[in-house]
Symmetry: none
Subunit: 291 residues, 2 copies
């Protein structure tokens, strides 16, 4: 399967307009190819049998039959060799080796997500959501590894509720930002090993103005943990959080989803506005929209 998709991707630009239509169809629903004739695919794609066959030639196949056979084989083989569920179950016997590296790494992430999930205190989580919803303005802060977390959180919260900004360190003027703060503001601080001192400094300075602090960390007793009004803890591999991003993002997604769910109509409205910007489409992309 992957071979076929890869082949289509490589040759895509050389295809004609109608052939691109067929290409998208093949990638989108290979099963239909496996089960139906070239003529039928012509109908379904609103092209013609001929175009479908020529699409096969363009990809280097000897004809529709060849493509169909390969798709059938790959669909059925993948079924047999590596069902995703099966793979993820048998983590005990661990042969390392290049081959199943991806599998192991991802399984590890699944495990961290599940641990994080089970360690989350529901009451705390609700408090965190409330903090976000009720804040007048939000400032997100996080450096190094945590910067990507902060960046994403800022972006997403700005989309779903607005009034959120990202403090990016000395580039921004911390003093003037802090000056504006009051007790209705919220600072969301990310702090994972190795804990950046700038984060904690910023939070401490902000607290003098009475802001609320939502901390997200791997440890209740981390520097941020001690400063925060509410602390959400994500389980990550030690010592570095470099490898725990999946679990943290999963937690963040839960958080943002919680915020979104609490004020859904407003969020939908915002998303629509965002959507309308600059001619990009928010839904499944088609080549037409890519120009």
């Amino acid at each position: 399967m992957q071979n076929i998709k890869e082949q289509i991707r490589k040759g895509y630009q050389e295809l004609t307009t109608r052939q691109k239509t067929v290409a998208k169809f093949v990638i989108g629903q290979p099963k239909t190819i496996a089960l139906h004739s070239a003529q039928k695919i012509g109908e379904l794609t609103e092209t013609s049998e001929t175009t479908v066959i020529r699409f096969c030639y363009a990809l280097g196949y000897s004809g529709y039959s060849a493509l169909q056979t390969e798709i059938r084989e790959s669909l059925l083989n993948s079924d047999e060799e590596e069902g995703p569920l099966k793979n993820y179950r048998d983590t005990t016997g661990e042969l390392i080796g290049e081959n199943n590296l991806i599998q192991r790494v991802m399984e590890q992430d699944v495990a961290f997500i599940q641990q994080t999930l089970s360690s989350i205190n529901n009451e705390l989580f609700t408090k965190a959501v409330d903090l976000i919803i009720q804040a007048k303005k939000i400032v997100v802060v996080g450096f190094r590894t945590s910067y990507s977390l902060a960046n994403w959180t800022s972006l997403t919260l700005n989309l779903i509720r607005g009034d959120t900004s990202l403090y990016r360190g000395p580039i921004d003027d911390a003093d003037s930002i802090i000056m504006e703060m009051d007790e209705h503001w919220l600072v969301i601080a990310f702090s994972f090993p190795r804990y950046a001192s700038e984060t904690i400094s910023f939070v401490q300075a902000a607290k003098t103005k009475g802001v609320k602090v939502l901390g997200i960390s791997d440890d209740e007793l981390s520097p941020i943990g001690l400063e925060a009004n509410v602390l959400l803890k994500a389980i990550t591999p030690q010592p570095s959080a470099l490898n725990g991003m999946a679990a943290i993002f999963s937690l963040l997604k839960a958080l943002t989803t919680g915020v979104a769910a609490a004020d859904w109509p407003k969020v939908q409205d915002r998303v629509r506005t965002y959507d309308g910007q600059s001619g990009f489409e928010f839904h499944i992309p088609t080549t037409e929209s890519w120009g």
Copy 2:
């Protein structure tokens, strides 16, 4: 499938000796039926094409084609019904009860990770790792949602192999960066909906200098997919990738782990140095840092 097996079981006693041989074969490896002609099945069962066809009649089918079609459909449909795809269909606009929200969100992420895992082609993955290892210099690019991905990747790759920088958009001088490039450079480009046009422009400009491009996207046919030498696909919820970060980070972790594993002693050395640093002068790598 179950229908077919049931049908065989019912009629089994009435079958002739050779037909029973065929019956056992069909139950044992229906996939082979799905993929091969009646003649071939005749050979494999050491009976004959004729017997295979008469076996179909005996079960009440109109012929071999009918049996084959039904087997194909049932094999592929079962794939569809209980596939993880179903899980994520109903998540988009639905209001979720507060109580199990965390759980549901995280389970969804687990599902996406598993899908990504099962859709990854090992060969492509290895190629991606090789590209990274063999590159002289690496530039990472990604905007909006993808910026956090790019940022993290840049940070991490710089740690484990060095010579990696992040292109942050017009802040950096794209022209002078691109000027330096040659065919030993690698550009890692992130592109998720809504696809930022800056990313594709940068990549296209870079390609004129002969650089290699590693694309990471949600769609083989996305703008980046078409430009990339190697494309890794992550499964994310549609329409936006906002909610698919966990799966993408999981993929990235696999990638970086792959790179690290390939040159482990050197990486360990680097990490020691990084940890030994006092203070926090390690900064987000930018193109300036080469100046």
